[in-house]
Point group: D2
Chain length 369, copies 4
């Protein structure tokens, strides 16, 4: 790697992505530099580009989940599994690089995803502070970042195919308390919804339903493990309810996962769950407006559990890797990544993601035209 590193910078919402050149950073003790193999354009990046997240210190280098090769390590460095890391290792890292461990969410409530000082690669660090995003040929891994070797049998494309959606999906299934033999319905067929389907499939779920669009994503949903898919645009709320009821002995499913991010999804979801079931809400990462809900029929009489699910924790990162290592090709996440973009194509990548022309846009910062 030369001493000049190219990175794609989002200077402000709705502005064209710029390519900037960075010097190779000096590494303090315990830090590392990762040569980026693959990063991604996820839904959050589209939200960032729309300026819909508050407190973002533009300009930034987006890209919060990435995979690559450890190019340089300063001092002995251990991964999250406790074993030493070495230069040349294929590696991934947990994108939340700081939580304080001392605020009440961290230390008392055990909800570190609500830490008041949380820092996330690709979102919370200004571009002039360094290589804190994956839309770059190299990523600065500061001391304390949770790093793990990528298991041999897992490709960069498989890992990034799930990407941040993969970790969210692990968290969702934890919140859902999904057990083998449970029926599941997923609202939304973006990266989060598809990753949830893929992980639920290898977790022994019984029938898996999915509601989404467009047709290409529904095909993907089927390939990843959905038994029955509903085209959001070609079926009505009543039709979906009727069919889910019919296929579940009149009950509804054990677990519904909201990964759609629409106000309408939340109005429909509770009725698709059985009485006493669980409804995990994970798609409302930004404000999608108001939902109208009848609390008597949707929640109270159904004895329903509705569980918000925000961010992810190191435990989800480790579990995602354990599942990929064990299950390997049985989790065909690579197919979620439909097209790979160069650094100078990321305006196009954002546009394609925004318009849902691609399910997941992959970033290869070293690809040349």
């Amino acid at each position: 790697m030369s001493d000049r590193i190219l990175a794609a910078v989002m200077a402000a919402p709705r502005q064209p992505i710029e390519i900037r050149e960075y010097a190779r950073p000096d590494l303090p003790q315990g830090a590392a530099l990762l040569r980026t193999g693959r990063s991604e354009v996820c839904g959050t990046d589209v939200h960032l580009w729309h300026g819909r997240l508050s407190g973002v210190p533009y300009p930034i280098i987006p890209g919060h989940v990435s995979a690559g090769v450890l190019q340089a390590i300063r001092g002995p460095l251990r991964g999250i599994h406790g074993t030493p890391l070495r230069e040349g290792d294929r590696a991934v890292f947990f994108d939340v690089h700081r939580t304080c461990g001392r605020c009440r969410p961290c230390a008392v409530h055990r909800t570190p995803t609500r830490c008041v000082e949380r820092r996330v690669y690709g979102i919370t660090d200004p571009a002039d502070e360094g290589l804190f995003g994956g839309w770059s040929q190299a990523i600065y891994l500061e001391p304390g970042v949770h790093i793990a070797r990528l298991p041999d049998r897992v490709t960069f494309d498989q890992y990034i195919g799930g990407g941040c959606g993969l970790l969210t999906a692990v968290h969702i299934l934890e919140r859902a308390a999904l057990r083998a033999g449970d029926t599941l319905l997923v609202q939304g067929t973006g990266a989060v919804g598809l990753s949830t389907i893929a992980l639920a499939r290898v977790s022994g779920a019984a029938t898996i339903f999915a509601i989404g669009a467009p047709a290409t994503r529904l095909d993907l949903a089927r390939r990843l493990g959905a038994d029955r898919v509903f085209d959001l645009n070609a079926t009505s709320v009543d039709e979906r309810l009727e069919q889910v009821q019919e296929l579940t002995g009149g009950e509804g499913v054990d677990v519904v996962v909201e990964a759609a991010g629409s106000a309408r999804a939340f109005e429909e979801g509770p009725y698709l769950a059985r009485d006493g079931g669980r409804y995990v809400v994970a798609g409302h990462y930004t404000d999608a407006g108001a939902s109208s809900i009848n609390v008597h029929t949707a929640i109270n009489r159904k004895h329903l559990d509705v569980r918000g699910c925000w961010g992810s924790e190191p435990a989800h990162f480790v579990r995602a890797l354990a599942m990929l290592e064990q299950l390997g090709p049985a989790v065909p996440l690579a197919s979620i990544g439909e097209r790979t973009y160069r650094l100078d194509q990321l305006d196009q990548a954002l546009a394609d993601a925004e318009s849902m022309r691609v399910t997941k846009a992959i970033v290869d910062p070293w690809a040349s035209a």
Copy 2:
């Protein structure tokens, strides 16, 4: 007891309550007859009178929770604690007198309150089938009803002061996973809300907040254990939020309980809970219309648990008795019951309950004018 038993019958919604005379029933093996000491007019009875519950086989004898003395027992009879019951015992019983044990809610999902064949005293049994309600001088306890001796130190008025609200409150605190040291806010100061406050107080809750009206009920809330009360009509949503935040270090409470049954309550409740907190929804026993909710701010980003809570189970009945027996006068539930009515005064009792002139109307079927 003479052979003629008087009972108050609700012939149809909005009709005057009638007094009917019943013959003393023959008891099959395992049945008992309870001389009613106290019964109640609860919120459900007002709903019944308004015709807002579906499938009710009018005419009925209302009154689902009652206390009395075992007048007659046929054959050996054991209570839910396994010990023999005897004529003359002061006794109470669990109002759900049949669940099938075989449907999926009963046998598979362990949610018997959603049993498809559930039968409840005072609600689901027609008056011509017998004395299946507490607005009567005697109640027929069919074989299989869960009966318990009322602990010596618990008065009829204390037990009925909580009444069905007491059992619901036990279920609410179970769903809330309330632990000593948690902060709590209760929306609603009817019998359910007040019982929840009282039980939370003796369960070691830290600060308890209550929102309700009118002033008499707020006084009761304070007496039962609330540290801080908000008059629903004299404070705004914003004022309440601000004050709860201020008194909880800017976080909100650990547990919010909805026991108000209003669509507005559900719109306010999530914001009063801390991130990662729990919100138990128990007041929407009937349809109170649509609530408008922003899923991003109210549930997803807050990582909130929203838990519907429906009906109660024998375990809640037993736990309520255990608490009353141990804690006795420390749970001043009797004060919830403000006025006692004769059988011929139940139109007045319904009107008083409907208008919130009384918090809980108590029924004494043997009182004479």
Copy 3:
């Protein structure tokens, strides 16, 4: 089916099995007669034959889990899924045919496997009361038994290969709170241990370890999904601990399952789990003598959860069927059943099971010599 039904009767412990002839029973409303396709000889049957269970009303017809065809049904009959059953349906049933629903274990503690009036096919009913066991050409399904159609893609041999071990395994994984990505170690490679391995495999477990004997069962363990097996007789406790530690980053596994029924297993198991892990104890169905344990190192300092697991509930029966239906041939349980015996060969079957010459002896009551 003729009017004469042959059944194998265990008259007393250690006595030769007798063949008796029964008349076809009259069916009351809601009852059914199942033509037995397959039953089994499980570890409990060996215990019964050894006289090691208390309160068994010998003579009995053993065989608690079975599969067959509904030969006759009296009156409309619904299965546990709520749909009508019909004569000719391939069917299975939950072996616990009575729990009282009224005792404290049933009604208060929600632990129906500890019901004081529990009745189980093949164990608790005397042979002179009727066809209450699977070692018979037909089984009397009394009103109230939980019956389910066997999914089309599941063969009798697959269902019985797991047999009662399959339901126990579902319960074990529930108690273990096993989640996809967890590592697992199973002590014991009998029907329970093997079923646990098979279900854990399709539930997304990460590395699965097994300790057992003899070699044939270890081969089975591998085929059913174990990644690493230890021959109980060819490895020492220290060797096993060392290797498990080495393969788990020095931690031990997330979940250990005791399905061995030996006092030594319990002495070893806690140390194979990681700190804060879970240890489910399910193999001690009878008294195997005293275990010696250092509570400081084995439980307290490890912050370990040790969870006894007794019997199974209808929910486990339904979940087992859901998993088999969804996963079908991916759960190769049929291979556990190594040899099929006729009714007149059951002395041999007991001897083979006792000596571990076969892992699971299958019973085909209609097979002829």
Copy 4:
């Protein structure tokens, strides 16, 4: 406070305690100096003195839980509740002053009490590194220590009366999932057992049983809330079992807590719990030798949960304070501390604690002869 600070140092096991003089430490940014009001001699200190904990870097300043006044603060400092701390505040702190947040116990398993780099005041820091223990006139609170203002209504003696046992008791009740209305039995009437009784009492427990000795501690147990106490030396295992069964309808209690630290206690405990109950093991902080247990009758058939409980977390510290603040004098913990010792009396204090002449020895480092 002068510039010379006296501290009591344990130079090695079984050696007399020495008084050393320290200079007032320089405070880095974020650190504080606490003028010690009260510290304690707890069971761990006796173990330290016996040399029974491994890896202790003698000489050390013992005393892990203490209360005092913030004498000096360098830079702005916030407490665990998020509010600023000021010199002169009455304060307490969480004794675990470092966990790494990065090892698998911390970051993945959410079991920080098993952190591999855990540091605890009074135990893990050598005396030559500074004032890291409470047997000192002042304690150095390094940056990052969780500090809290002591609620106004809580005295030093009340807080230290519970001391480290108070935090352990909060953890025990969390592991026990104790709910109001549960019955409880506590084995052991030292500081941990007594604190558990006191907290369970104000948490709404139903009947509380205690087993312990000597008579003075049993009196304390009664005063703190036990309904029924058994003198360990005056009753037999069988007598205790019989009486507990009799007083719980033949079932045993919902929750048993082992806070005795004896091998015999673990042999008795499981049988005192009801089937499906919970048994929390917290007293085996050091090796008390082997227990002999019949797994069939004690764990498996009872469907029992046995839960090891190690150390405590910031959440338990905060919850303990919340309970003391709310419940105040209703938790008479001060009575556990029977005698207060000067720094030059700590050999006597250790001897008194060892011989059980005092239940809890309190340390007042500023008391003069």
